[in-house]
């Protein structure tokens, strides 16, 4: 095992023959947790998940147990699983959906039971065609097995689960946009307050929204107890966690290990994890938590992969995706590509995001292609400041949702770290990496 000897949890069945089938799942202990959960009081499960300190793995890092405790009273209430994984360079949920759909379904049923929900949806990113097919087949199997539908395993608990799929829109990963889309509309994020899903979610009713990886831990937590989970890791960074490692490493991939017990260097260099920067190249920068997060330089390599530590250092672990860039990477081009993404995916409701992302993309491509001016660097920061005042961390917000404040970090941190490189583009009239 890499780093510590803790066994993986959510990835432990991946690689088994036909790991996505009911047979493999049940042969390897599947649905035992649901049987146990149904014999417990819903409140006891909720207490156990609170004890587990299960931080949401979708990006915001909010404690799942606390999120459940905020669910307003009222019928009907709903559970919506956010399987619309779209943050650039995050590919963990994609793997879990295709590789172990029953684990997600079992976690979903446990969550629904704990929260008194009888109608759940898994909103799968539309591009995950194979994932939609595997989940749909798994839901069919789960109904036939008695784990879904009426009177689940003879407990009297009913749950209907719908595999819903989208049609391509990054913003729908934002939970209120997800609900808007699930109501059959354009994926516009809602204003919060009042539209906190726990109070006014799907169809205006109280709604739990949880991420795929988060729910996939629940069967293990029910079997082993929340305190077994929180004993792993450090503080709020409890349990194990999946990291999606991509870019210039020898072994890109999803890696699950005990949280807060490894550093960025371990993840990138450990022979059973990243295996080092490709070709023995020099590390230039890492993006520690998805395209929305501020970049780090090689000086942060020995920082622990821990929620609070990374937050205090001015960035975030976000959705757990770490992008590695070696010295052959043009920082201007990488930052341009990220801002181009946000411009394309801005839903257009809020002016700072809609217009600001377009301005930034145009200025960045102008610099990258050699037509930039020195005063463009100040202009970039000025536009960033209009989207997220003072360009601080955690960011301030002028928009309905956090897509807006996700735009500046790539530009502001790359400019801060590689100002000389920006200037070379401007002075030499082109990209020195071309």
């Amino acid at each position: 095992m890499p780093v510590t000897d803790v066994e993986p949890i959510v990835t432990r069945r991946l690689g088994l023959p036909e790991s996505w089938t009911l047979k493999t799942y049940v042969d390897n202990g599947g649905y035992a947790a649901l049987r146990k959960a149904l014999s417990m009081a819903p409140g006891a499960i909720k207490d156990d998940v609170l004890n587990a300190s299960l931080l949401g793995r979708g990006g915001a890092g909010f404690d799942a147990g606390k999120k459940w405790s905020m669910l307003a009273k009222g019928q009907p209430s709903y559970l919506v699983v956010n399987a619309d994984e779209s943050e650039p360079c995050t590919f963990k949920d994609h793997m879990l959906i295709e590789g172990d759909p029953h684990q997600l379904i079992e976690g979903t049923i446990i969550c629904a039971y704990a929260n008194g929900v009888t109608q759940a949806f898994i909103y799968v990113r539309g591009e995950f065609a194979l994932g939609v097919e595997r989940l749909t087949a798994a839901v069919n199997e789960a109904y036939d097995y008695g784990a879904l539908g009426r009177d689940i395993f003879g407990s009297g608990f009913d749950l209907d689960l719908v595999v819903h799929y989208g049609a391509g829109a990054y913003i729908v990963g934002e939970e209120t946009a997800l609900l808007e889309s699930l109501e059959g509309k354009r994926g516009f994020p809602r204003i919060k307050p009042p539209n906190f899903p726990a109070v006014a979610g799907l169809y205006g009713c109280p709604t739990v929204v949880n991420n795929v990886e988060t729910l996939s831990y629940l069967p293990w937590i029910v079997i082993n107890g929340g305190s077994s989970f929180s004993r792993m890791g450090e503080g709020v960074s409890a349990g194990t966690r999946l990291f999606s490692l991509s870019g210039h490493v020898n072994r890109p991939g999803n890696y699950e290990f005990e949280w807060a017990k490894a550093t960025f260097r371990d993840l990138i260099e450990h022979p059973r994890l990243g295996g080092g920067v490709r070709n023995g190249n020099e590390l230039k920068a890492i993006i520690p938590g998805g395209a929305s997060s501020p970049w780090f330089g090689p000086d942060k390599l020995d920082m622990e992969l821990q929620h609070d530590v990374v937050q205090k250092a001015g960035s975030m672990l976000g959705s757990g995706s770490v992008i590695v860039m070696d010295h052959t990477t043009c920082a201007v081009r990488a930052a341009w590509r990220i801002v181009k993404f946000f411009h394309r995916e801005s839903c257009g409701q809020c002016t700072p995001c809609r217009e600001g992302s377009g301005w930034l993309e145009k200025i960045m491509i102008r610099i990258e292609q050699g037509s930039g001016r020195e005063e463009d660097l100040e202009l970039l920061l000025d536009v960033c400041d209009n989207i997220s005042p003072d360009i601080t961390w955690p960011p301030k917000q002028t928009t309905i949702c956090v897509l807006g404040p996700s735009i500046p970090p790539a530009i502001s941190t790359s400019l801060n770290m590689f100002r000389d490189e920006y200037l070379v583009h401007i002075k030499e009239g082109g990209c020195p990496f071309d």
Partner: protein, 266 residues
């Protein structure tokens, strides 16, 4: 162009019946229209409006928000090359250039024979296989220039037909359980146990239909009042004979086996 065929209409009605409000099914139903025609015809969108009891403009308004829904014809094979940052630093733009040359078209256009549409796409969550692409949403990666040429040859010759269905077919596995004909669920349209719609917040209340009924309690007070809602009504009898059992068309259908590409931390 075509309205939806009776078979597609039936599948659409099955989907609509899964949701507390039929409009929630609009995206899966729009995918069905694309399965029929390869893209969204105006007639199909108008027909979907009739099924969901909304205007064609509302259908169009929803459809036009989403990247996977096309309102113009696309090729039989939609090749989407990811150029987002992990793929870009692994040569995605070079691959896109090569693809344009191989196919003889620019990105976001279609070959004259209607076989291929090429598009530059955003991250498709296969970043450990960069640079990667999808063909009709089936994943391939990492893809070299040689791989790309072979892939195009195979697609043209129909050698990947089992793995890559024609553009528009998203999910080849049918839901066989919990359909309206089998098990009525509370809250669903057409269900005897359905709550009257007037009990729910007004669907036409404002630009964001999530606007809740006014509740002056604080979230803390609501929590203090307890979480466990009462179960509604009695369990209705299931009429087994009414159950229409469809058969799934196989589950292991994609070109990449899920899980096998996982590092898995082992």
């Amino acid at each position: 162009m075509a309205r939806l065929s009776p078979e597609i209409v039936q599948r659409a009605r099955d989907m609509m019946a899964l949701y507390p409000r039929p409009r929630s099914a609009i995206i899966p139903v729009l995918h069905l229209a694309q399965e029929q025609d390869g893209y969204l015809t105006e007639d199909a969108m108008a027909h979907i409006g009739e099924l969901l009891d909304i205007t064609p403009a509302e259908v169009y308004g929803t459809a036009s928000f989403y990247d996977m829904l096309f309102r113009e014809p696309v090729g039989r094979h939609l090749i989407s090359i990811c150029t987002n940052v992990a793929c870009m630093i692994s040569g995605a733009y070079e691959l896109l250039d090569h693809a344009e040359k191989t196919l003889g078209i620019k990105a976001d256009t279609t070959t004259a024979d209607g076989e291929f549409t090429l598009e530059e796409f955003e991250c498709i969550a296969l970043c450990d296989k960069a640079p990667c692409l999808t063909v009709n949403w089936r994943f391939f990666g990492p893809v070299t220039n040689q791989d790309f040429d072979r892939l195009v040859d195979d697609l043209r010759a129909g050698r990947l037909a089992d793995d890559v269905p024609p553009h528009g077919t998203l999910c080849r596995v049918r839901r066989t359980v919990g359909l309206a004909a089998q098990v009525p669920f509370p809250g669903r349209e057409g269900d005897p146990m359905k709550k009257p719609v007037s009990d729910l917040p007004d669907d036409k209340a404002g630009p964001h239909t999530g606007t809740p009924p006014v509740d002056k309690r604080t979230p803390g007070e609501r929590v203090a009042e307890g979480q466990q809602p009462a179960r509604e009504g009695a369990v209705p009898q299931v009429d087994e004979s009414a159950a229409e059992i469809l058969h799934p068309e196989g589950t292991d259908t994609g070109p990449t086996a899920g899980g096998s590409r996982a590092g898995g931390g082992t």
